[in-house]
């Protein structure tokens, strides 16, 4: 293993997140089992109190998940000197199979935790805990993912072996064991990808606005916002990064969060994450519009979610376009 302060911080964060979620899921299961809104028994009062604990835990996990996503990339970046052939985070993540799986899981879990909070918010608006069962079912789904993420992350960090000089003939052991950025995404042709990005983005924004104004096509928007999210991530690798780095071959999605590029990546990713969570949130909440206790507020809340998702995507597009237009790179 590589005993690096940042690695320790990563593992600590992962274990804490897992612990919090398993703890929350444990009480969530109790709630699923014993919940009886009609009862005034002490057990019910205790369970109702536990809901506060669980929301607090999930809120923290959500924040932690976001922070640890960036910390993870930072760590990968700062470990690059340890690996022959690794130039930035991308290379380090390639050191073992787990590297990218953890990253994907981190993003997934962030989105899931965000959706849980959306569901929780809606549930809190109803006077009879209308979504309580769904909410804790979702929690029961999230918990294993976080645990898997933690296990993989441990495997990734603990399994790392730095290529250091051995006591024998050092240079001969410097194998090119970490491939550079040779992923398929990077090799996607930039220009067609650019058009795809703008095309799908246009559809997404249009659907979102249509839903916001007319109240129709919500599910469609939810799906599109997820698709858009993936396309946007692919686009970052495929062409957005090129314009930011102003290099025709540098595809790294990670260097953009570094100092050299004015931390522009944070803004890009935050906009994207916000957009996808609120976008999918629309789809998650739509089936509950007819629930009695939620009728009055839910439509408004879903509208707000859709609007903020659209605005965030719009801001993302604007930022990307700005980067493209003012880039010195011509393609």
């Amino acid at each position: 293993m590589v005993l690096h302060p940042t690695v320790i911080a990563n593992l600590l964060a992962a274990y804490i997140a897992s612990f919090m979620l398993v703890y929350a899921a444990f009480y969530g299961a109790q709630i699923l089992k014993y919940w009886n809104i009609q009862s005034g028994e002490e057990l019910q009062l205790i369970l109702e109190r536990k809901t506060y604990l669980i929301s607090t835990l999930l809120g923290y996990t959500f924040g932690l998940q976001l922070l640890s996503l960036f910390l993870y990339i930072f760590t990968a970046d700062s470990l690059t000197p340890l690996f022959v052939g690794a130039m930035c985070a991308a290379g380090t993540l390639n050191v073992s199979h787990f590297g990218y799986s953890v990253l994907v899981l981190k993003i997934l879990n962030f989105i899931l935790a965000g959706l849980w909070l959306v569901l929780n918010y809606a549930d809190n608006q109803g006077y009879d805990y209308p979504l309580i069962k769904k909410k804790y079912l979702l929690l029961a789904i999230i918990a294993p993912f976080i645990v898997i993420e933690t296990l993989l992350e441990s495997a990734y960090f603990l399994g790392m072996r730095a290529d250091v000089i051995t006591s024998c003939c050092g240079s001969l052991f410097s194998s090119e064991n970490a491939a550079g950025l040779g992923s398929e995404i990077a090799s996607l042709p930039a220009l067609p990808m650019l058009w795809t990005f703008y095309g799908v983005m246009f559809c997404t924004l249009a659907t979102g606005l249509y839903f916001y104004i007319k109240g129709k096509g919500g599910y469609c928007y939810a799906v599109l916002s997820l698709v858009m999210f993936i396309i946007a991530l692919v686009s970052v690798v495929s062409f957005i990064s090129l314009y930011i780095y102003e290099l025709p071959t540098h595809h790294c999605p990670f260097c953009i969060i570094m100092e050299d590029y004015h931390y522009i990546g944070y803004l890009l990713y935050l906009l994207l994450f916000g957009a996808v969570v609120s976008g999918i949130g629309v789809g998650i909440l739509l089936p509950f519009r007819q629930v009695d206790s939620l009728k009055f507020m839910l439509t408004g809340f879903i509208g707000k979610l859709a609007l903020s998702s659209v605005l965030l995507y719009l801001a993302f597009t604007a930022l990307v376009s700005y980067q493209i237009v003012f880039s010195n790179l011509i393609m």
Binding site: V2, L3, H4, P5, T6, V7, I8, A9, N10, L12, A13, I16, M20, R49, Y52, L53, S55, T56, L57, Y60, L64, L67, S68, F70, L71, F74, T75, D77, S78, P81, L82, V84, M87, C88, A162, D163, V164, I165, C169, G170, S171, L172, S174, E259, D260, Y263
Partner: protein
């Protein structure tokens, strides 16, 4: 939205005033918290910038060094090797080096004796190298040799010494320094200069000596050198060239600079990590302390929360209040700890753990580190300190926040 902001403002105001009302209790926590952050931050700043310093210095070191290994032990190298190496395709130049360690019985320290190369051109050929993350050119100029001498010429019978040596032996320019040569004779060499303080990490224990004197001191024959430096035309060919050297000269061991760099990284990371592991006991103790503080609400505090809930605050309002309380304490402790550590490491030379972290011999360098802090370090620090504190307080906070509102009806007396 407006009322939400207004509400948070009210809650923060109230939190601040309630923190100030319980100064004594909170100052204890704050001091301990700051101390923890301070120690961790100092450690991280220190290892990080020393690592950086070392990397910058090594950037100026030769790309490939070839040693001779006999029976697994480093041995003197015949000068004929030089021609063999020079003939390898891809090698731009190669130069012999003469250097060795000398143990000084008087002060019980090891010096590094080095014969400066006669023509500096062999070691530093200017050419463009593409380096990822090119460091700011502030610290070390690549074209300068490591051991910068202020124009003094080294003649037979003279030496130039590093600052560490000068400090340790308490000698200066003009003094004589005795050496015990391989055959038991005493050589008195005159100190003609000391090395600049620029790169003291490397040059602190360094002594520059003429080739003639070096051979006399160590008894090394004319046809031997310590090792050789190699410059290759194309940096990406380095491993291939190294492999070729290895093939032509089976007894040679080529060492690539980047590997030294990597080893350095690992060692310092490992040291930093080790310190954190050791230190985690302290963090754990602090977390338990924080847990205890947060769950052991005084009667006064319970009463206050009871009153708040009775007059119409909701459980989540109280949780928010406690969240702000934790945030205020954490951020205060975090930033004071970081700022103090910054001053400690970069302006005061980290008196607290220099010895532990540098792990050098008696001759350890005395240089000031270039201030260097990045977001990654701060995030790591945040995760290692604020995160445990925050998590440790969640359950106690929730307990406190769920005090029954009707408890206010049962308070008696003051």
């Amino acid at each position: 939205m407006n009322s939400w902001i207004e509400k948070q403002r009210y809650i923060i105001d109230f939190t601040l005033s309630s923190l100030l009302r319980r100064k004594v209790k909170n100052i204890g926590l704050l001091v301990l918290y700051t101390l923890i952050v301070f120690i961790l931050a100092s450690m991280m700043f220190f290892t990080h910038s020393i690592k950086r310093e070392a990397a910058l210095i090594l950037k100026g070191a030769p790309e490939v060094v070839v040693q001779k290994i006999v029976a697994g032990r480093h041995d003197l190298m015949p000068i004929e090797y030089l021609d063999t190496i020079k003939k390898i395709r891809g090698v731009a130049t190669a130069a012999p080096r003469l250097w060795g360690y000398y143990y000084d019985n008087l002060v019980k320290a090891n010096y590094t004796l080095l014969v400066p190369p006669t023509q500096t051109t062999t070691t530093n050929i200017s050419r463009t190298t593409v380096v990822e993350n090119e460091p700011n050119s502030q610290s070390v100029d690549l074209t300068k040799p490591l051991y910068e001498v202020n124009g003094t010429k080294l003649e037979s019978g003279t030496i130039i010494i590093g600052n560490g040596v000068a400090r340790l032996r308490q000698i200066a320019k003009g003094d004589y320094m005795p050496f015990l040569s391989f055959d038991g004779n005493v050589m008195n060499l005159k100190v003609v200069d000391t090395l600049s303080a620029q790169s003291e990490l490397v040059s602190s224990d360094l002594l520059l000596i003429t080739e003639e004197d070096f051979r006399k001191l160590f008894g090394i024959d004319k046809q031997f050198v310590t090792d050789m430096t190699v410059v290759v035309n194309n940096p990406s060919e380095m491993p291939t060239v190294a492999a070729k050297i290895k093939k032509r000269l089976p007894q040679a061991r080529p060492i690539i600079r980047d590997e030294i760099l990597r080893t350095y990284e690992s060692i310092f990371n490992w040291r930093g990590g080790m310190m954190i592991v050791i230190f985690s006991a302290a963090v754990l103790a602090f977390v338990i302390f924080a847990w205890d503080k947060a769950s052991g609400l005084s009667a006064g505090e319970r009463r206050e929360i009871g009153i708040l809930k009775a007059v119409g605050w909701e459980t989540s309002d109280v949780i928010q209040m406690k969240f702000w309380e934790g945030a205020i304490i954490s951020l205060t402790a975090f930033f004071s700890g970081v700022i103090l550590a910054y001053i400690h490491v970069f302006f005061m030379g980290s008196p607290v753990f220099e010895p532990a972290l540098k792990g050098w011999s008696a001759l350890y360098p005395n240089f000031s580190l270039t201030p260097f802090v990045n977001i990654e370090q701060l995030t790591t620090l945040f995760f290692l300190t604020v995160l445990p504190y925050t998590v440790a307080t969640i359950v106690p906070i929730w307990r406190a926040a769920t005090i029954d509102p009707d408890s206010a009806m049962r308070f008696t007396g003051d």
